[in-house]
Symmetry: C2
Subunit: 556 residues, 2 copies
């Protein structure tokens, strides 16, 4: 008989409600491991928020069981919560990753002043034991080098977690997906497959990264003036192909943008990016180089307003100004929500005289995620007993699950989970267990965590309707008005004539205060409520707006 | 010799900085006409703004010359500014449009309480004279029925304005683009072609609307439970195809969503939408109908939070609740900027148990705009001497201009214009004239116009960083503090312990007031400035945030 103690519990704490903040807990008896510790970048629903983390209090509460954190690859949505998690854990916990992944993490932890983290390098094809967990790592292709899938074996069952992956048959670094490893795992048995769903809605196969190289060479060969390429800094293969195409047509590469400079440095030091010192030039040394001898490699492919490309487009970059005839290549796709920002940058570049090449008109970008046919191949290769789609919004998870059914998995062997849901594995199979506490944590300036929905709702109301503050001083004994009434508005127009509006508000406020004074009301909260209602009603009647109304009553 | 008086001036007042607020002025001697009067829907850069209009003060200033306003079709980005323009003109001006276009406009003007507008119906293939302008109207295909292109002839030259168009070779209403009309215009001579650029970045041809019908029939035939289709209300052809597919598989159509109910009513009355009374059912009468006998047709294809589909997805719709196995078809594409909102609705529908069919996985939507090959065909058909791409962002205008060069137009015969730029046409050709005053006008609640960049910047700052108000009462003679200090924050967290933060702010404020009082400062603006700086500095030091700081000094 199976007791609760010898059930393997699998709990995704993030990654199931959108692309980002990936984090999965595996727990068996007295041992626990975590796969990935990512963050999510906020969208317009989260004004002013810097970062979103998964709520990992479940891990903190059981930290004495935690044997290690495995990071599948170096992207922020898999690594970004790590500094916060390590700080909250307090005690040093082994962090396992491949060489480049650890190189990127090390820089990040240093920025957060985390001293002496226990970074443990793993090798593709390697094996590690952490408590009751036996781990094997399989090479996978992705839009950052050195990614791995993790095969976790325990006495009661096994889990295969793909990380993020695609099946690139012509990877530019010659590092192929470890088909033999996956096949061996299949033979040993995979109870539960957890597989990347990001590309599940794309039919067919994702094109190989090497197709981008061919495109870049064609574009570079035709360009007569300066070439500027924007891409994700962490996409080292893309950066390599830009460098190769530049060198092939006799141009030097100029790197600009903080993260692009950082990552190219790390990647060159660790042997993941190959370009001769002579072929890479400092942005400040570029001034007198002929336009047709330069490729500028920069950040800003997502239209980020402070990025190098946005500054170039706005004519605010220190060393790079657009000249008529320059070619700008946006070698990326806008992350959902960034479409308008990217368009805005492109429109400015056109206006400045550049020719803009983007994914819509040439193959200057391919996805890093497996499309439908690759996901089916993974299912057929691994032959899991059960599967749970991870890494995606509900739409992607459902699309992925439909692919599993298409290759013959029974409907009751696939699961759509929410963050915090739990699957329990033992010899008899996989079933749902008790969900654990989960959620999101906002990082806003120096504040982590206690920033609730109230703050976000306030910000949204402030942004759509503005604010009106009404300040009065009242005599604390009589409740009568002392001094002038002040009305301050921001983000709000009170009709065409603001003096009229002010007069209107004052009349109402006067009336309220006379009434409360005559009734002998001195409780300032009652006065505040009356002021709030009077001002709110006046503004609705006169301007059809519902700003936030803040009454301040000073007792003097 | 040409004097200024016999030059035709062509001035786009909108439509060149994004998709929307299309409006073009044509002026010759004492006569002026306007083609389209559209609005633009605001995006995240315009928090709280309801609508954006083109600044049409140029027209108002010359209103005695205005002979008529021609509306090419019934979409909001071509009609939405009309009520505001007519109100500002004061005197009734003829508004010309085809039957459906006028039907839609009439409803809109009624909502705005514009009495007895001079609506003049035009026919495709028809001819109208307005002052010195001779106008011919050619049928074009688009995502709303009854669209026309306008061919404007004058003694000094001619302009062909395509409106929005695609070349559908199998239009579902059998109303083909008037190739003969365009060809005749070409023979008579087209000095300047103004052509729709929305689809200029799409290669090839836009598929026919009739392909969507085939798709819908397949999906409907396979559905076992209820079917829900979301689309643009004004897309009468799409609505017709949904109705036809529903009737073909023995289902009744239930219409929900205010604009969907409005437009289906108008379109049926005017003979543009054909469905038997028996086959269309009131939403309230649906209750007891079997799920497999119903197709719900609703608004909300853009993820609008208050739309019928969003309410259905959230379980808040009065009569339609999602049941497991329902099929939801999103028969539209997200307008740029709406991608995340649409995804959010889709995710909720999946969560509620629906199967969601969208453009990414089946041909349930095609564009209403000509793709690259159609735009080239239009250029070759019309053979204009000059061309200016209209209706698009800078990226679309440039892509369209490149197509014109590809079919052989000389570079100095194509123009990229900004809103308010002017082209002057006379017997010797087309050249740039003096730009006129132009811009945008915001509609925000009851306020039209005087809502400036300051208000929008305020709203953005409020939304990202919140607001802190510091209120003090000072003795007007001594400058000393009277009563308590009040600190009110919204959308802002001041560190983990708010009591601490409050204490910190108070200490700083106390210090400032003691200093100003001791220096004998009683000028409240000086005190305010000192308070502002002290509070701002404290919040930056303690929370790394830059909220809006509002100091209020009450003199008592």
């Amino acid at each position: 008989m199976t007791t609760k103690k010898n059930r393997l519990r699998v709990i995704p704490l993030g990654g199931l409600d959108g692309i980002g903040k990936n984090m999965t807990v595996l727990e068996l008896g007295n041992d626990m491991i975590v796969i990935d510790a990512g963050l999510m970048f906020p969208d317009d629903d989260h004004p002013g928020i810097d970062l979103i983390l998964p709520d990992y209090s479940y891990i903190i509460q059981r930290k004495e069981k935690l044997r290690g954190i495995i990071i599948t690859h170096g992207h922020e949505d898999h690594t970004g919560a790590l500094p916060y998690l390590l700080k909250d854990l307090g005690t040093p916990v082994p962090v396992l990753g491949t060489k480049l992944t650890l190189g990127i993490i090390a820089g990040k932890l240093e920025e957060h002043r985390i001293k002496k983290p226990k970074l443990r390098e793993i090798k593709q094809g390697g094996h590690v034991n952490l408590g009751m967990f036996g781990l094997d790592f399989f090479a996978v292709n992705h839009s950052i080098p050195d990614g791995v899938a993790v095969y976790v074996r325990t006495p009661v069952g096994s889990v295969l977690h793909t990380g993020d992956f695609k099946l690139d048959q012509t990877p530019i670094d010659g590092r192929f997906t470890d088909y033999a490893g996956f096949a061996k795992a299949a033979k040993q048995g995979v109870t539960l497959l957890m597989s990347d769903s990001t590309g599940a809605e794309s039919p067919g196969h994702t094109p190989s990264e090497s197709e981008v190289g061919a495109s870049l060479r064609t574009i570079f060969a035709a360009a007569e003036q300066r070439i500027i390429v924007a891409s994700f800094a962490s996409h080292v293969h893309r950066v390599q192909q830009v460098c190769d195409a530049a060198v092939a047509c006799g141009r030097k590469v100029v790197v600009t943008g903080r993260s692009m400079i950082n990552i190219t440095k790390i990647a060159r030091e660790l042997g993941y990016l190959h370009i001769a010192d002579d072929d890479i030039v400092d942005a400040f040394a570029m001034g007198d180089m002929p336009a047709n001898k330069v490729v500028v490699l920069c950040t800003g492919s997502q239209g980020e307003p402070l990025s190098a490309l946005a500054r170039i487009a706005n004519g605010e970059h220190k060393t790079v100004q657009i000249q008529a005839g320059d070619t700008v290549v946006i070698s990326a796709t806008p992350v959902p929500g960034n479409e308008k920002a990217v368009s805005r940058v492109m429109n400015r570049l056109y206006k400045a005289g550049a020719n803009v090449v983007h994914k819509g008109i040439a193959r200057v970008h391919v996805s890093g995620h497996a499309a439908a046919e690759e996901l089916k191949l993974m299912l057929n290769l691994v032959q899991p007993e059960y599967m749970v789609p991870i890494h995606g919004e509900m739409r992607h998870l459902h699309a992925h699950r439909a692919l599993a059914h298409a290759v013959g998995m029974p409907e009751d062997h696939t699961f759509i989970l929410d963050n915090g849901d739990c699957l329990e594995i033992d010899e008899s199979g996989v079933r749902r267990g008790q969900p654990v506490s989960s959620g999101v944590v906002y990082v806003d300036g120096l504040t982590v965590g206690d920033l609730g929905q109230v703050i976000l709702r306030d910000r949204q109301q402030l942004s759509s309707d503005g604010i009106a503050m009404i300040v009065v001083a009242i005599d604390s004994r009589t409740g009568a008005l002392a001094g002038e009434i002040e009305l301050v508005t921001r983000g709000l127009v009170l009709g065409a004539d603001s003096a009229d509006a002010l007069k209107g508000v004052r009349t109402r406020v006067d009336r309220v205060l006379k009434r409360t004074a005559s009734e002998g009301v001195t409780d300032s909260s009652v006065v505040k409520k009356a002021l709030h209602d009077a001002v709110s009603q006046y503004i609705w009647e006169s301007a059809r707006r519902r700003p936030m109304i803040i009454p301040v009553v000073m007792e003097v």
